[in-house]
Symmetry: C2
Subunit: 229 residues, 2 copies
Amino acid sequence: MTASEKAYYSVHPKFHMAVDCIIFGFEDGELSLLLLKRNFEPAKGQWSLMGGFVEEGESVDDAARRIVAQLTGLTDIYMRQVKTYGNVDRDPGERVISSAYYALVDIKKYDHTLVQAHNAFWVKLPEVPHLIFDHDSMVADALRFMQYQASIKPVGMNLLPEEFTLTQLQTLYEAIFRESMDKRNFRKKIASMDYIEKTGKIDKTLSRKGAALYRFNPERFKENGQFKI
Amino acid sequence: MTASEKAYYSVHPKFHMAVDCIIFGFEDGELSLLLLKRNFEPAKGQWSLMGGFVEEGESVDDAARRIVAQLTGLTDIYMRQVKTYGNVDRDPGERVISSAYYALVDIKKYDHTLVQAHNAFWVKLPEVPHLIFDHDSMVADALRFMQYQASIKPVGMNLLPEEFTLTQLQTLYEAIFRESMDKRNFRKKIASMDYIEKTGKIDKTLSRKGAALYRFNPERFKENGQFKI
DNA sequence: TTAATAAGTGTTCCAATTACACTTTTCTTT
DNA sequence: AAAGAAAAGTGTAATTGGAACACTTATTAA
């Protein structure tokens, strides 16, 4: 790099860069968020999203993955960037620019020890308390974006176990869109998606009759898949 | 701020923060982008988006507005954040994190002197050359996002003069979605939007018969407006 | 054996979208 | 003054996709 090139960058300020993660789970027919009841400064005692700073040599996407893994122990999680929040005073401590990411996790699979260590809790969406800084906006934006994504791409299944019943799948989408759906119409739609396939197994934990278990087949979807719900 | 709070921030690195702007215009039935043929380092001689660094005391949104104003002289422009690009090596000179914003401008109204001074040119979308760094991805993402926004909100009019004919409006949407539309169906749809109102004036520049001029009424839209195209 | 519980299954109706072609107005040219 | 050119403007029928709707089946527990 030449001297003039170096000057091109160095005359400009640098900023702390953070990520904040909106971690969605699904349980008892409701979406939940994994939130911290902060037992550390700043804003000790208040509720917040799980967040952290981007480190040297780490991409912002990688930072988001690291932050989710730190709290849940989970890697290979479905995550999407929501938006970057760059208001000067958004963090009252010092200037920090933050990118929000949402994550969809199977609520049965997280590392309980890590979550406890961070003093984190799953909170059902309707009961989410006021969060610090601009985290309320982040949650609102993430929810909206996730709903849109879930309506055009088969990403909702990331909130379910590998194998799921159609009843589970329907209650999931009812929770995502906060509206009840017609069972027959819903099943008709799913039946038209050949990438949601029967495993042949039957789940008898929820009904005497037993319900067929399905699984999402990503290869089949990549080939010719359409999704709209 | 206490010492421990200060430490909370200061152990973490800081980064250059930039914005890059995808500036859309509309002319001759085609979308265009305002691009720089760089006559300065780095990447002198190559094509790029208009960009710049976020400065101290300036929000990221404000930086984006400033950058667009610097090039076009235009303020109060419709702009939306697209996405933040945070790969470590995205700028080969030094690490820079960049938020992309798209802007919709009336291509008749920009400041020609400023544009010339920056060696910038309007390039029709199908003829956009390869751009530096990850700017090609930024353009692709911005176009997709803009198309989505334009399909659910009446933002396309930002690319037209205050007053426009229905033929202009239709060719605009045909350019945005890269598909031809049926004239009668299109006009039927627009007629159902009472916030797109006749001005009473007639434009005779494009036809012997003359075409009615319309205008977007934002107040009417706010009240009860629905938009879907 | 029967009572309880969730799983599973088709058809009709309605609304929204799509397809489709000619007339009108005005100016220019001859 | 008549004819031709060019874009503006206008309505209906057909199709499609989405919405509404209720009973039967399988199984286990009482």
